[in-house]
């Protein structure tokens, strides 16, 4: 029978990458006396080695063998876990990962690096504390190998097999051993029953027999010894060539009796104190199991989400039908319909929640790269760093997660590069030498909030302002609030690093970070205190496919405003509308003046306003700290909408974030609030001229 083992390779690769991730994350938090972690790291390496050998990745198996040996010595307490060893092991993890990636994708492997790390491991093995044990082990295994050389002896063998009485306790059955011998050739077996006690004393669980086997076969002594390998130490075994055999059985028998008289103390009954007792797996492992074991094809999920979308549509369609019927006569019918609707709504919501949860992944998937990054940065920058992670189990949509990872990496690099000072500077400033970067995540409202904080120098406002003036981003001498100054670092092409460093000065600026976050429908805010550190606070929607929306009407067409960006909706008070020279119109809301945006013009659907401004409604929206009052013709209902991309068959449209399908099957456009505000800046002149006329007329 032949079995194609290649079908298991995919699984092997997946579990190996997971194993490598585990090794990496444990290595980064490893302290010398953490035997539990060392065990887990060893186990991961061991599994990779075992699988690699089985599934034909000889190179990986060979490389991992050295790593495993190092770890084995460490866990046996024969080798101290030094920072150098951790660094070497981390490098080894990278090597194994690159070897597996190369094998999987058929890409080229940096063999020079693998060889170099391999040499480092060998050097370490030779020079390390565990020197003695290791070379012994190698010597032993190579000795085993040489002893297996086939000997040229022929004719046949005489085998005397005298098992210990408790041999069957190990699950070995002498009969099976004889059967195995039979495979070599013809056997003649003599059973010696002299050891049998009287029936009363006979313990059926013990073996009192001995065998003499004459095997006529063209085989080696080693292959016969191999048959008895499992009972080695639990029996007396003689293997001699038939040619040398002389009649010595009586002697053998006396030997056998003598042996049986020895009180029972086979190795089978002893329990070694040194046996390693594994403790309950650390929680990190369990978490990995929870999230790692769910693998759902995203196509399937997307299909499910589409189904849910249809369900939502059906529901709102039924809702409209119900309302229509309500104005009719058949009351009972209406009641039943409304009841069914309530049911449908509940089902829809449940199904939707379930489906969405499939896509939700803990943010630890994004966070788990940072321990390694901080470790590496700490070495390359000569800064002492500590990473604190909280809220790693906070969940968010897989798409959002994937897209937020790069901005997070950039912000963390930035915090380390620009934020955290060198140890001497920190000590002089009265701070601990070790700087802390804190990543925190939590849910708030319908959003996930991710904070990247450091206890470094904070943003240097004077320098930022000077740089911005130099770059012509702000006119010299302009008074700016702290927030406005902080905000300047998000301007395109802004960089304050005195020397362009390897880390942050790579052409990818903070402007890209903000753009990416905005593209996800999120925002980023800075809190900073000079000398005390900075916090970057990112707010993101939990998912990109469904949101709560407010339906509005502008020029007889429905639009959707994300509920999350609406502050309030109100009737226009004529005396609160003010025209500000060069700034269009503003609305006074309590003590605040908010720019007024006329949606009919902004959306290019001006239909010669049928309503007076005083009849219009204002929807006050807020995004990234900016507010605007949108003039709309009517407020319709609120409902959940399934977001459809306009760019699938058309393209991105300024001021819109997508479209959705309403209950009647028509399309409603979803407004992108920050896009609307930027549009209004372009259109300011036009808006002012038309509207001023109308206000005057009114």
């Amino acid at each position: 029978m032949s079995i194609d083992i290649s079908q298991f390779i995919q699984t092997f690769l997946e579990e190996s990458f997971e194993g490598l991730d585990t090794m990496e994350s444990l290595l980064l938090t490893l302290s010398a006396d953490d035997s539990e972690s060392i065990d887990a790291i060893f186990r991961a390496a061991h599994s990779i080695k075992g699988g690699a050998g089985t599934f034909g990745f000889g190179e990986v198996a060979h490389f991992t063998h050295g790593v495993e040996t190092l770890l084995d010595e460490a866990r046996a307490g024969r080798r101290l876990v030094s920072p150098e060893m951790v660094t070497l092991l981390l490098a080894s993890v990278d090597c194994v990962r690159s070897m597996l990636v190369a094998a999987r994708d058929g890409t080229t492997l940096d063999r020079a690096r693998v060889a170099a790390i391999g040499r480092d491991i060998e050097t370490s093995l030779k020079s390390g504390v565990g020197d003695q044990a290791t070379s012994d082990q190698f010597a032993k295994s190579s000795a085993e190998n040489t002893s297996r050389q086939p000997s040229a002896e022929r004719n046949g063998w005489r085998i005397v097999f005298i098992p210990e009485v408790n041999v069957m306790r190990s699950g070995n059955d002498p009969l099976r051993l004889l059967q195995a011998l039979e495979e070599f050739g013809e056997i003649k077996v003599t059973c010696h029953t002299a050891g049998l006690p009287s029936f009363d004393d006979l313990n059926p669980e013990e073996c009192y027999l001995a065998w003499e086997i004459l095997l006529e076969a063209d085989t080696t002594r080693d292959s016969i010894a191999e048959v008895f390998e499992w009972v080695d130490g639990q029996c007396e075994l003689t293997i001699e060539p038939l040619s040398e055999f002389t009649e010595t059985m009586p002697q053998e028998n006396s030997k056998l009796h003598a042996h049986l008289d020895v009180p029972e103390e086979g190795p089978g009954s002893t329990i070694q104190d040194s046996a390693i007792v594994e403790k309950v797996a650390p929680t990190a492992n369990r978490n990995r199991g929870d999230s790692g074991s769910i693998r759902v094809n995203t196509d399937k999920i997307d299909a499910l989400i589409n189904m849910v979308g249809e369900l939502v549509i059906t529901q709102s369609m039924l809702g409209q039908l119900g309302l229509k019927l309500q104005s009719g006569t058949n009351e009972q019918c209406i009641e039943g319909l409304l009841e069914g609707l309530a049911q449908l709504e509940r089902n829809t919501r449940e199904l939707q929640e379930n489906v969405m949860s499939i896509r939700m992944l803990p943010i630890s998937f994004a966070f788990n790269r940072f321990p390694r990054m901080i470790h590496d940065l700490s070495e390359s920058l000569g800064k002492q760093l500590k990473l604190k992670l909280t809220g790693e189990q906070t969940e968010l949509d897989k798409n959002v997660l994937e897209k937020i990872t790069d901005p997070l990496v950039h912000l963390v690099r930035n915090a380390v590069d620009h934020g955290i000072e060198t140890p001497d500077v920190r000590v002089t400033a009265g701070k601990p030498a070790v700087g802390t970067v804190h990543l925190n995540a939590y849910h708030k409202g319908g959003n996930i909030v991710i904070e990247i904080s450091d206890d470094g120098a904070g943003l240097n406002k004077a320098r930022i302002l000077a740089k911005a003036v130099e770059r012509g981003l702000v006119p010299a001498g302009q008074a700016l609030t702290d927030e406005q100054i902080n905000d300047l670092i998000f301007a395109a092409g802004f960089s304050t690093a005195d020397a362009v460093s390897d880390l942050s000065g790579r052409g990818v600026g903070m402007d890209v970070v903000r753009r990416n976050i905005k593209a996800l429908g999120g925002s980023v805010e800075i809190l900073s205190r000079e000398g005390h550190g900075s916090s970057f606070i990112i707010r993101l929607p939990l998912t990109l496919s469904i949101m709560d929306g407010q339906l509005i009407e502008v020029a007889n067409q429905s639009y959707v405003i994300p509920l999350i960006s609406i502050v309030e909706s109100l009737q226009v008070q004529q005396d609160s509308v003010k025209s500000v020279a060069g700034r269009g119109m503003v609305y006074r809301l309590r003590d605040e003046y908010i720019p007024v945006l006329f949606m009919q013009e902004l959306l290019g659907t001006y239909i010669g306003n049928s309503k007076q401004l005083t009849d219009s409604l204002l929807v006050v929206v807020e995004t990234e700290g900016q507010r605007a009052a949108l003039v709309v013709d009517d407020l319709l209902g609120q409902q959940q909408v399934v977001i459809k991309a306009l760019e699938t068959n058309f393209k991105k449209v300024a001021g819109l974030s997508g479209a959705t399908i309403l209950g009647d099957g028509t399309v409603a456009l979803i407004l992108d609030v920050s896009g609307i505000i930027s549009l209004s800046r372009h259109n300011l002149g036009l808006t002012r001229s038309i509207r001023t006329e109308e206000i005057k007329a009114a």
Partner: protein, 120 residues
């Protein structure tokens, strides 16, 4: 039908073992660590246990010891899947009561040959 319990924390190796055994007509029960293995062994008598050594929760050696302590597994063949470096593991395994071992890496054919040898 002859029932075999296969215990390994590595999904790929376990899948390979299980697949190979099933192809050969054995009934196979799977477990991912010693604790689970012990539970499954208790839940239904098996004719042979194949267990990895290094596993989280409960390692293979402990599993062997725990199984041997059960009356129903006093004489059941238990094979330990070990690596070539683990000579001391073989001894440890046998001390705990293992019947024998299968050295990794092994091929499906080697696995079947060994299983047949134990089960006859």
């Amino acid at each position: 039908m002859t029932k075999i319990l296969a215990v390994d924390d590595s999904n790929s190796l376990r899948q390979m073992v299980v697949f190979t055994l099933k192809q050969s007509g054995y009934d196979v029960v799977e477990a991912r660590n010693g604790t689970e293995g012990l539970q499954k062994a208790k839940a239904g008598q098996v004719d042979l246990v194949l267990t990895d050594v290094n596993m989280p929760e409960m390692d293979g050696i402990t599993l062997v010891r725990e199984l041997r302590a059960l009356p129903s597994y006093k004489f059941t063949p238990i094979l330990v899947l070990t690596t070539e470096a683990g000579t001391d593991k073989k001894q440890e395994g046998r001390a705990a009561g293992a019947t024998g071992w299968l050295v990794k890496p092994f091929s499906p054919d080697q696995l079947i040959a060994t299983v047949k040898r134990v089960l006859g």
